[in-house]
Symmetry: C2
Subunit: 327 residues, 2 copies
């Protein structure tokens, strides 16, 4: 925090008092054209910029939003972060970024830190804590992909529908043995609904299904390799997989190693539709999640909450199946 001129200096140089300068800054009330010019010139000459910390203290409002994600290194969260930042900035808010790395203590620490820093609200996209730990936070909050309370708004995609579309598609393409990778099923996240749909549809179709629980570490890609290899070792006859986009890349690799062709021998449907989905060879058929719209919705909802306006609690965004080359 280098030494910078303050409102007082501007006032002195412009031959007025701080009040007038402040009114100029906040465009309140009227003032003579002459003083306006004077103030503008003084600011220019001094290179004055208002101190937002002082303003925040006075206004009891920081115009900062805390964003808690597992890690920005995961493309899904990277894309989401980028969009959230964009919409927040457009609305005059900045983003304080927190990577929980799926660590309970870190997440707790971040929440406390955000309270100390008086952020106006939190967008929570990392979920390692039990729901009751989020209660009585005394802050505006919106979650992504998880419901943590009846009054806390959440944004998610229509995971059941996505699971349905993906599974049906695989079935329609003639698959007879399907695999699904789930995250932690114990945490009651909305993405688990994909699994429900997967199970329901495979059962209805009388097709064998395999559900594999992956670990929590979304940022540890290396675990996927062993999981995928195990899958094909135990079930060499799997001919279809419904997994996240990143996992799909791993499935592609395993298939390549095992001499299985995609889509001829194994068909793969992803979920997310992050950029790399269309960058793989073959191009990945996947369930498109409207990441940018979800980000916008999360920001809109949070800002409404902050403003004390009523908000919709459930915000389930539509998904669609993007058919490409992997099926």
């Amino acid at each position: 925090m280098a030494h910078t001129p303050k409102i007082n200096d501007v006032a002195a140089r412009a031959g007025v008092t701080v009040t007038t300068v402040s009114r100029f800054l906040n465009k309140r009330g009227y003032m003579s054209e002459a003083t306006r010019k004077n103030i503008e010139r003084a600011m220019e000459e001094l290179g004055y910029v208002p101190n937002e910390i002082a303003r925040s203290l006075y206004r009891q409002k920081s115009n900062i939003i805390g964003l808690i994600i597992p890690t920005a290194s995961h493309p899904f969260f990277g894309e989401m972060t980028s969009s959230i930042e964009k919409y927040a900035y457009e609305a005059g808010y900045r983003i304080l970024l927190c990577n929980s790395r799926m660590d309970k203590d870190k997440e707790r620490g971040y929440i406390e830190m955000l309270r100390r820093n008086k952020v106006d609200g939190i967008i929570m996209a990392s979920h390692t804590l039990e729901v009751d730990e989020y209660r009585n936070l005394g802050m505006s909050i919106v979650t992504m992909d998880r419901k943590i309370g009846d009054n806390i708004p959440y944004v998610t995609s229509d995971n059941y529908r996505g699971g349905y579309l993906a599974t049906r598609h695989l079935l329609d393409r003639g698959c007879r043995k399907l695999a699904y990778f789930s995250g932690n099923l114990s945490l009651d996240l909305f993405p688990n609904k994909r699994c429900e749909a997967f199970l329901a549809e495979t059962k209805a179709a009388g097709v064998e299904s395999i559900v594999i629980q992956t670990g929590l570490d979304v940022f540890d890609f290396s675990q996927y390799k062993t999981i995928v290899n195990e899958l094909f070792e135990k079930h060499p006859d799997v001919d279809g997989a419904f997994v996240s986009d990143i996992e799909a890349a791993h499935v592609f690799q395993a298939c390549a190693r095992l001499g299985k062709r995609v889509p001829q021998d194994v068909k793969v449907v992803g979920y997310d539709d992050i950029s790399i989905a269309s960058l793989l060879v073959p191009c990945l058929t996947t369930v498109h999640q409207p990441i940018d719209e979800m980000a916008k919705k999360a920001v809109d909802i949070l800002l409404a909450e902050i403003a004390g306006a009523p908000v919709q609690i459930a915000n389930v965004m539509p998904v669609s199946l993007v058919e490409r080359e992997s099926t």
Copy 2:
């Protein structure tokens, strides 16, 4: 900014004054065990957390670092952001995230915003402005991959060496016509040194070389598609490419469409070694850039600068060639 108890409330409840509570908070001087207990209990009961905004105002120090990147949606910057945040947080600093999206005005706006918010320093990884615009910012700053002044520290990887390793490798593998994708060569970024090495080595080997300038929009992946297609249209006999990891994925796709096999017909070396490099089929041979170490270095340097300690201006991190399946 919800209503929260302040130091006054704690003091009242503990039967002391704000001074004592403040001393407790900052662990300065001694106090009786009894009052210490009282204060602890009062804080506990009130759920008190100190207001960092007020602290920042008084201390003239925000403990916040501004990070300007093109976009977190690009995996390279996503990974870098994740690491930077990690090291900053460990040192007691938070990250205010700014995605410039390669927009001059946005970048300028962000710099001003960071000044207003009194961040203690800036890590600049987006470069759309001319170097003189960064002068007299009056803030601690460290750049990634670009030198903007003799006294402003920068962190980069050994791009020339990387370019050398990649080109030599391609040559050693027998390639006779090499393509290279460069970013904007006019901006004098360190990554341009890859191009220099590429040109020098191909020339020395008497091998034909093609340099293609891509646009500025690192986040607009779609442009790559047309560029790659054009390349193979004009030069069907290209048998080697040295490009960024993301571009490599596009090259793979083009090859697949054109029936060219990687690595038999076309060999590809990437640069960055982001996660997806090892997720492609075939696995990408690439120049490993130590992203995490670079992030750590950038944070360390910036904090030293903030502390007024002398810092090394040039910080060029070593690279290595990771041979995988694409060559």
